[in-house]
Symmetry: C2
Subunit: 348 residues, 2 copies
């Protein structure tokens, strides 16, 4: 039994006494305690050392007081487990030296067993679960098939996504083959994470928003739906889908059968609730750059979101994107404390 | 009298026999003829040499057959005319060596007379107008105040826009002072362009979409409205507003009094027409990366946009963003030819 099950209840739109809050990338570079761990190991070593991954996963629960932990890992461990050589350099971001572009490179991609290839993540989950000692829930996550495909084809950070767009438009069948393989691997991986101890799942569709709505349906939504449906037949945990920049497709995302839809900051949360609030809970939606402002402004902006969502359950407070590395931890703490107290009046 | 006034008519939602088409960044690096001119001069020299600016402005009219020219220039000539030192490097993009961050740097910004400081643009307009010989309309443009502020504060291309966001949230009054000064300069500049010969104006709000809706209202929409209103009292030309990534604010943009709202590719144009089509014409909305695909797919996607917009006037075909430099000109020609013939059936 969880001591703090606010997140689980909010995912299910059950009554809570206040709005739960956690923060995307809450275990990360903005925290001096995280940087101290990272000084000793590379980013990928940190992902692959369960003791250290557990340690940084729990840091924001202790230091910031968030209502959930999210297992420290990276979305690109899946393409790596599928056989792609991954390097993550400080500053330049992740790089696949041999991005996929044609049938030959696609043929090498593996259907894998997560209890073998991604055992280190599952070990980190079990260990974190034990060390959290039921204080808060633990979220497990994956990138969406389309988002992973984007990195696998581009090979590195991109501005225009020309390569992945060329790939899906010119090699449509091959693209669907890879997306399907990714979806199958993701499903197994997320189910294995739940079996290892995660209480909630989130799928990050970071790049779904670069697609026109009908291409989003074809190349992203279809696979998100497949993932939600298959996971729901196997395990009973809430699923959060977050597709950044996909405001035009919120209703369709809500219709996948997921429990929560994440929104970025480019839509009013009240408007989002009007359109999908009857189907799912909503997570978001503070602009992460608000945390650069003075505390009074942070409170004003947080208050606006609580007010615009309005009374009742089904809201999980979060940023509309990961916290920026140059954020001061005290500003985040201010936000978390404020949401915890201010939100009570919307749950009476 | 223009020989081809389809664009003007479509801006005013008057009946035309087909849908007009022009392409953002149509005078640019994807054209070998443009690159040949650019080999001899730097980007800024090209902007500042009326004969050459006129030459590249007219190239896509001759080579691609678009229904309008748009004067070759850059949105950053305004901050430069306000006293900021600008350099544009191939590959890295524009750089302001001394970005504005505080009162001191803001104090140096000038209110300027466009007939003096930006005479080279006005000369390019007059010359182009003469050389076009009334074949097609000529569009004049500017960046929006918020978009220009973004470059002026960031100093260079940005990923997270941390600096401009910090600036507007922490130095709100100062930000509004600069935005207002920008708006006044932009108004004078656009009116001067019309007097020099442009038939249509477009304001590019390239970065408005990075703002939450209520911040968009405060830091971008307010100044777009001011620009539209003041220009409309002085000259009678259609005004196109294009705010990329601002789907949540389309209705508010349509309410500024502009004639046309540009949309990117992340919204169905039929849905956009339903929401704002009674107020304004709509420009867009093909994903520029579609031009990487085979001609059959380009036609299929263009056909979908024509169909989704539906019958009647008030559509200006365009991409949802500037054409990418690595696009093959033949693909663009295919698109333009297809739209010219296929669109006829929607105008009977």
């Amino acid at each position: 039994m969880l001591q703090n099950d606010l997140l689980i209840k909010a995912c299910r739109k059950e009554k809570t006494f206040r709005t739960p809050i956690w923060i995307m990338r809450q275990a990360g570079r903005y925290l001096p305690e995280y940087r101290a761990v990272r000084e000793k190991v590379s980013f990928l070593e940190l992902c692959k050392t369960p003791e250290l991954a557990a340690q940084v996963t729990i840091q924001p629960v202790d230091i910031i007081g968030v209502d959930s932990a999210i297992i420290f890992s990276d979305i690109l461990v899946i393409p790596e487990a599928m056989g792609m050589r991954l390097s993550i350099e400080e500053g330049t971001g992740p790089i696949f030296e041999e991005p996929i572009r044609d049938l030959n490179s696609v043929k090498k991609l593996l259907r894998f067993d997560p209890t073998d290839k991604l055992k280190y993540v599952l070990d980190a989950v079990s260990l974190t679960k034990k060390e959290l000692n039921s204080r808060v829930p633990l979220i497990g996550f994956s990138g969406s098939p389309f988002t992973l495909l984007t990195y696998m084809v581009e090979g590195k950070t991109s501005k225009f996504f020309s390569k992945v767009k060329s790939f899906i438009f010119q090699e449509r069948d091959l693209a669907h083959h890879v997306l399907n393989l990714l979806a199958e691997n993701i499903i197994d991986y997320l189910i294995a994470k739940v079996k290892a101890g995660t209480d909630v799942l989130q799928v990050f569709d970071t790049w779904g928003g670069i697609l026109a709505p009908h291409h989003f349906d074809e190349f992203s939504l279809y696979y998100l739906t497949k993932i939600v449906e298959e996971i729901k037949t196997k395990v009973n945990v809430p699923i959060i889908l977050f597709s950044k920049g996909s405001n035009s497709s919120l209703e369709k995302i809500a219709m996948t059968g997921c429990d929560v839809v994440g929104i970025d900051w480019t839509i009013d949360i009240g408007q989002a609730r009007k359109s999908i609030g009857k189907y799912t809970a909503i997570q978001g939606n503070l602009d992460p750059t608000i945390l650069y402002a003075e505390e009074e402004i942070i409170k004003e902006e947080a208050s606006r979101i609580l007010k615009n969502f309005g009374n009742g359950s089904g809201h999980i407070f979060n940023l509309g994107h990961g916290i920026h590395p140059d954020t001061e931890p005290s500003k985040l703490k201010c936000l978390v404390d404020f949401v915890k107290s201010e939100s009570k009046k919307f749950h009476q």
